[in-house]
Amino acid sequence: MTWLRDLGLGIRFAAAGGREGWARTALTAVGVGLGVALLLVASSVPHLLDERSARGDARYEATDSLEAESAKKSDTSVLRIDAETEYRGHTVGGYVMRAEGEHPLTPPGVAEFPGPGEMVVSPALQDLLASSEGKLLKERLPYRITGTIADAGLLSPGELYFYVGSDTLTQAAGGHRLTGYGIDPEPEQISPVLVVLIIIICVVLLVPVAIFIATAVRFGGERRDRRLAALRLVGTDIRQTRRIAAGEALFGSVVGLLVGGALFLVGRRFVGAVELWNHSAFPADLTPAPWLAVLVVVAVPLSAVLVTLAAMRSVVVEPLGVVRHAGGRKRRLWWRLLVPVAGLAVLGSTGQVGEFDPVNPYPIAGGAVLVLFGLALLLPWLVEAAVKRLRGGPLPWQLAVRRLQLNSGAASRAVSGITVAVAGAVALQMLFAAIGDEFDESTGQDPSRAQFHTYSQVVDGDAAARTIEAFRATEGVQAVIGTVETYALKPGRPKDPDDMQPVTSLTIGDCATLKELADIGSCRDGDVFVAHPRNDKEQADWVDETARKGKEVELNSEYADVPGAKSQLWTLPADARTVLADRDPLGTERWGILATVGALDPRTLPSAQTVAQIRIDESVPDAAEHVRNTAARIDPGMEVSTVISFTRDRQYASVQTGLRLGAAATLALIALSMLVSQLEQLRERKRLLSVLVAFGTRRVTLGWSVLWQTAVPVVVGLLVAIAGGIGLGVVLTWMLDKSVTEWWLFLPLAGVGGGLIVAVTLLSLPLLWRLMRPDGLRTE
């Protein structure tokens, strides 16, 4: 039980060590506290995701409501249409709803069903609409706000969401009958790629936190060693001093746990204001998983004690002072090299996997983690090896290099956190870039032609013309094509079931529009044309397979596939002229059957859409928002989609921004610990600095030396991180059978690293300047 007494003694020293003791304990506690708060946030992520998806499931349409036969009109049934839109890069989700009876179902979080011309909105949307920022959106959603959606009906506090009431929505206009809300949570099958990504992200963000905590525990270590030396003088033995030191560390880390818990509890109140990946969280969502919280509470003090004991292994506290084994233990390379090599071997032996192949994700994640840890292990050796070879140079450089040669351990430890963060972030970004770019290539769309497509189920006679007119009048729109579109099939079934049913597009518009699509010559309402592509005989023949003049075509495209679908035949007039397709104003060729409104009434078509393609002048501010406003005015249920590569770019950019932010935050944390060590070291050298001042040393000289002292390990760390990160990125990209598309993604992170060096130096300068006064010489 004596060791308990020693631990207690250490705790008493930490708790009652006078001002200096408290300062040290406070520093450690704040450092550990920051780390613990982050760990608690991380351990809340599972609960957060569960709650989110539970709320998502609750407002989802019930499964039996989706079945056509069970969805009968009733007192509670509701017709609704998805009216999701986008506003300045944010998704604004919502539905237009029409009650079919006296007691319509309300979605979760909505108290009262909105009447016609009314809407219920999320608090965030309400704020946005009330602000000047939301002025354009207000034009799109001009309805009277009669209530807000409660938390239970929202995924996150920042979600922009609305329900609009309507008395005109019909099934024909795309309204879908809904008879219930809520689906059973389904165990989601996460794709292996995602599992790998999630594990690497956790490692990238949490390992530096762990390293930060380990560093925080060592704050003020040199002073503590001197205090322990004084204890040795009065008769404690070496093992007792270790236990006392462990007790001090224990106390600091327990106070740190409390600080971290407090930070977490206070911080989660404000979590709603934090947005990442366009998402935020409710304070109640941030509840740590119990077993993870217990793990944090146990592991943090335990590792604090272990770190302290490990640190004291290289220190012998003698009664008259502290002896450090300077260069006593040589860092060995082989076992440090073993870890990343083992990681690469694991990755290599797993080989390439397809995106949807059933694959065990854990070897991949394990391999990647081994590589990242390996880099962190390799770093102290590399810093030492690099610094050992440095010679000469200007005086500040020499001072910094020599300092690092004497003891690079503290610097390496801090920097290894940077290495893990940066290497992981670089690898992940490369992977994301490869996945994202591949998608862009596959769409093959050219956003310089049309940035928007709109689809509306409202198909009255002059729908297309009205759509065109409305869009043409919209600010920032350069060109519009508006038509009603559907498909025409050859009636009957093909002889060989494997053969494709001949099909061609059927485009209905007025003469003016059709003139823009094909070289039709004269046109009167009631005319029909068959447009052939230019210079493509094969395609022209395919068109003619369906479009046989004087013969019938099938207008219900479901007829061939869906049992019970009714046939709707229409005879292609025998006098239809065959014409050549032109490039439309947006640059695409259209062929197939072109019919004027007089020849075929769009209202009779079973599944047609009013389609518009719109090109905007991107230099006009908010042109996209004006387009969406016009669309909402024509038909609130009109779907507006931007050309896909455009959206992907933005999504990808947000992932990349998130990663960079996370990595930058981690680097800031590391910078903080480097700053504390730097300040501590400067204070230790107060007298030496005064002596150097007496010698006439310029402030600049010492300032540069402080800069180099931070810069050398950070630069080595960044080089290792970038090389390792690119290597890991290449391997991971290869494993997913993609090719690396962007090699320079590490540049912003390297920039942040440079900023970190400057920041640590600049923040140490005030203390350096203060210590460079001659006061330090007055020791008598």
């Binding site: 002596v691 150097l692 040393t697």
Partner: protein
């Protein structure tokens, strides 16, 4: 230069730290090549006098003239430059930069003066030889004895051929034999290079290496030789 040929002259210096007067009308002079011991009990202000004379701190009142230039009215940068070029320093302890080798420590003042590394280290090595410690040139201060370290410090104070060396209790941390050897080497080297030494000490046997001594008592220095 003052009429009597003094190199460094201080007149009626006053300096107060907080509410404690450290110097209260101290006067002082030293001739080129002269070794002057500043004696006095602890807390009498002798270190403060040295710091003022060396331009490390500025006195609240009084004048300090070095080679005809008024030190007390110089800017911080000018005083630093003067310390780099004309002054050398030896302190009691904590003065060698622990991460630099003894040779690099010795070369430090030259390097601060802009001398290139090779040349600086060559001169530094010569001085280490003169002080009989060239065998530890490659070692770090933590690996050498106190006496050796102090000799390195003396070599460093003299390496840039200063006009004045300020030594504050240079033997304070040494035993008598080592202390005397250091004093012998310091004064001999200084005399042969015509370097003046201002030697702050409370030990008579150390002060006995001087040509002349003054006493600081309650912040007042009685420089018997200096006539106002």
């Amino acid at each position: 230069m003052t009429p009597d040929g003094s190199l460094l002259v201080a007149q009626d210096l006053h300096k107060t730290y907080g509410s404690t007067p450290a110097l209260d009308g101290a006067s002082f002079s030293v001739h080129p090549g002269e070794v002057v011991a500043v004696m006095g009990p602890s807390g009498s202000g002798k270190s403060t006098l040295l710091h003022c004379l060396a331009g490390i701190v500025t006195p609240d009142a009084g004048t300090i003239t070095y080679a005809g230039r008024e030190i007390s009215s110089m800017s911080d940068a000018q005083r630093s430059a003067l310390r780099r070029s004309d002054f050398g320093f030896v302190f009691q302890f904590g003065q060698l930069v622990p991460e630099l080798t003894c040779l690099e420590n010795t070369a430090l003042p030259l390097r601060l003066n802009g001398v290139r590394r090779k040349a600086a280290e060559r001169t530094a090595r010569e001085w280490l030889e003169r002080l009989e410690v060239d065998d530890i040139a490659a070692q770090r201060p933590g690996e050498v004895s106190g006496g050796q370290g102090q000799r390195v410090a003396v070599a460093r104070a003299l390496v840039a051929s200063p006009k004045v060396v300020f030594a504050d209790e240079p033997t304070g941390a040494l035993d008598s034999l080592n202390g005397e050897r250091v004093m012998e080497l310091l004064t001999e080297s200084a005399r042969s290079a015509n370097t003046a030494v201002v030697l702050v000490t409370h030990e008579a046997r150390v002060a006995a290496y001087s040509d002349r001594d003054i006493v600081v008592r309650d912040g007042r220095a009685r420089d018997l030789e200096y006539v106002v």
